[in-house]
Amino acid sequence: MTRKLQTRDTSWLAASRTRSAWLFLAPMLVILALVAGWPLLRTIWLAFTDANTLQLEQRKWIGFDNFLNHQDGRWYGVLADPVWWRSVKNTLWFTVCTVSIETVLGFGIALVLNRSFPGRGLVRAAILIPWAIPCVVSARIWGWLLNDQFGLINHVLQSLHIVEHPVAWTADPRLLMTSVVLVDVWKTTPFMALLILAALQMLPKECYEAALLDGTHPIKVFWRVTLPLVRPALMVAVIFRAIDALRVFDVIYVLTGANEQSMSMSIYARQQLFEFNQAGYGSAVSTLLFFIVALATIVLLVATRVRLGED
């Protein structure tokens, strides 16, 4: 009898807890639905209409025509536009380059900062500066530094006789993407370093003490102890960065504008939506962008889970 009462009590308690949990969650869920869910659904829905940004009300359902359609022997739609595919290529190249360079550099910096040395607090604070500057501002600064006519970098390179003529970093199509990648690496490496540093500082000391006792070579310690232990945190950082990089807009737009040679998927979407007023077509592009980012995230998550399972 008492037991029965007890279970009823606990189930009542559990139910009440669940209720209050939902109650506390509700405001967040409602706000999320309003600011994330609704715009997302609306964008996906607009992607199937011929809406114009200036006259959003006058629209009709056109099915998949924004994505792909065939008329008079020619293919139309986002998927048939070479500029879109160019922007996909640019974005993927940008993502792979920046994320891998930032991960390697960030790891190195984190390992250094994990040692204790005089002035470490100061260095840790200083390294955050690039990350703290608003992206548009830092991209502008780099635009001026890299300028071929009055930029500081060309001036230095020329006075050191490394180059004879100024290099057009943000204009030469062969260098455009490299410059963009460099600026992004400068800006975002601190973010990676910080996340990895946080993970390093959580590592249990015993493993290292054991390794020390065994007389293991430091490089082996890194591969066999440090890397496996920080891998979960590292993967989170990589996924964050990859999602961010796939949506890149500001660095590229500020440095080079709406130039097809360096256009990213977001720049392409913005141009369709706000310069060409094609709300329907632009929404189709945004929808594709959303699914590409979602897909990349799932692939990364699954890949890391599989690898983690092997260890």
Partner: protein, 461 residues
């Protein structure tokens, strides 16, 4: 900030203020229509002499307007001076909002604001290519102009008239000009070039000789080569001067894929790395002027505003600069061609104070203000009467000589392509940019471009 000037203003507009969601924009614009309708009749009763800017008399308290001028060169300062003079005269406040330097980005901002029915900006400065795109969001200024529009160039008034409504008042007129260094041309006994081939030759000779003499940073020719509307203006000049048409002709025919256009782009492509720095692929107006004004270029293509800047007391090239018409192409049936540009002022349909905003527009486009702007900023007036004005000619001596350039300026195909102009222009500048960056040959790029523009055109424009 928003002050309700009159008790007769309908309440429905107040409700619409907070609503930004697109679904309600129909309701919202209806409300605004109602309120502007009321406002107009109110004005008719109160303002007997709107040309005198007497709107201050009607309201006991002053209101605040927002105006978006340009940000290129002296745009902001000269505009602000005019706006302040109007404030002093009428007692109303007007805030000058700064805007992007690139016209393509300015348009995107204007479209976003107007498309959302936002009342944040009352007066917009609009590029001559925009009235067709933005017309339905702009107020008909005819009732406020009271005949003042007849003093302007008729072609500009026609450009600002959409469906019988005068949506934009001409403010200043632009055309591409060739700026050259008088001192350097004299030093090498060179003539001002009249063909592009001569320009190429002269630029190379002077650049090479000066570089040998120690001025390592000297460039032969700079212009606007970034992938944006400015490149469309520049490239249209090259192509039109070669007799290669205007991308899309007035009858709607896509004409860009022709041998003369290819010849023009081939020549322009040859400039990069010889007389033009590769960096010019990322130059807007101000970057080009920066190089020229610091004494590092022999020739520059730019708009008239650069003259006043070059003649500034602090300028390194003061009194060393000449201005001429742009060169013509080589061969027969060629002509000097300058792209027609210019800016107009318009009042947003969503403005809370349309009468005062229209009054500001009328003040800024008046003969007296345009004269002041011509003298202090070198802006070309839109009133023919000012071209014989002594004070104006004294400030910009080339005004008289270049009258023909302005009269025969080449318009961009914005009328015929209508709301698709932006897409046509973007396809064009990207194709040209590809050629200049040596990614494609001019022949292939233009053939591909013609196909793309045909695609945009569909069955008809």
């Amino acid at each position: 900030m928003t002050h309700i000037a009159s008790a007769t203003r309908p309440v429905v507009e107040l409700e619409c203020k907070g609503i930004v969601m697109k679904q309600f924009s129909v309701l919202c614009s209806l409300a605004v229509l109602v309120s502007t309708g009321c406002k107009k009749s109110e004005d008719g009763a109160v303002h007997k002499k709107p040309t005198e800017g007497s709107s201050a008399a009607s309201a006991t308290e002053s209101i605040e307007l927002s105006i978006s001028c340009g940000s290129v060169g002296k745009d902001y300062d000269v505009c602000k001076e005019g706006v302040e003079a109007w404030s002093k005269k009428t007692g109303h406040q007007a805030k000058v909002v700064s805007s992007p330097t690139s016209t393509s980005e300015k348009l995107a901002v204007a479209q976003q604001l107007l498309g959302a029915g936002a009342s944040d900006i009352d007066v917009f400065s609009v590029d001559v290519i925009w009235p067709g795109i933005l017309g339905s969001f702009l107020l008909d200024l005819k009732p406020y102009a009271k005949g003042a529009e007849n003093e302007h160039f008729p072609a500009l008034i026609a450009n600002g008239t959409i469906d019988g409504k005068l949506v934009a008042m001409p403010w200043f007129i632009d055309a591409g000009l060739l700026y050259y260094r008088k001192d350097l041309l004299d030093k090498y006994h060179a003539q001002v070039p009249t063909t592009w081939a001569q320009l190429t030759e002269t630029a190379r000779t002077i650049q090479d000789a000066e570089r040998k003499a120690g001025q390592k940073d000297l460039q032969g020719f700079v212009f606007q080569g970034k992938a944006y509307e400015g490149l469309t203006c520049n490239a249209l000049e090259w192509i039109a001067s070669y007799g290669g048409g205007t991308i899309v002709e007035r009858d709607g025919k896509v004409s860009i894929d022709n041998p003369r256009a290819v010849a023009a782009l081939d020549l322009a492509g040859s400039w990069f790395g010889t007389i033009t720095p590769i960096g010019a692929l990322n130059f807007e107006e101000e970057e080009a002027r920066g190089v020229f004004q610091s004494g590092n270029a022999v020739f520059m293509r730019n708009w008239p505003y650069a003259w006043a800047m070059a003649q500034d007391p602090g300028s390194q090239i003061k009194d060393k600069v000449g201005v001429a018409a742009l060169p013509r192409g080589d061969g027969d049936a060629t002509r000097p061609a300058a792209t027609l540009g210019g800016w107009e002022l318009a009042v947003s349909k969503f403005s809370a104070h349309p009468a005062e905003a229209a009054d500001l527009v009328m003040y800024l486009t008046s003969a007296a203000e345009q004269k002041r702007r011509a003298i202090s900023g070198g802006y070309h007036p839109t009133l023919p009467s000012l071209y014989s004005d002594k004070d104006v000619l004294a400030a910009s001596p080339f005004f008289a000589n270049l009258a023909d350039t302005f009269k025969s300026a080449v318009p961009r195909p914005s009328t015929v392509t209508g709301s698709k102009y932006n897409q046509v222009s973007s396809a064009f500048w990207n194709a040209v940019h590809g050629v200049l960056a040596k990614q494609k040959s001019a022949k292939d790029a233009l053939a591909e471009l013609a196909t793309n523009i045909e695609r945009l055109k569909g069955p008809k424009w």
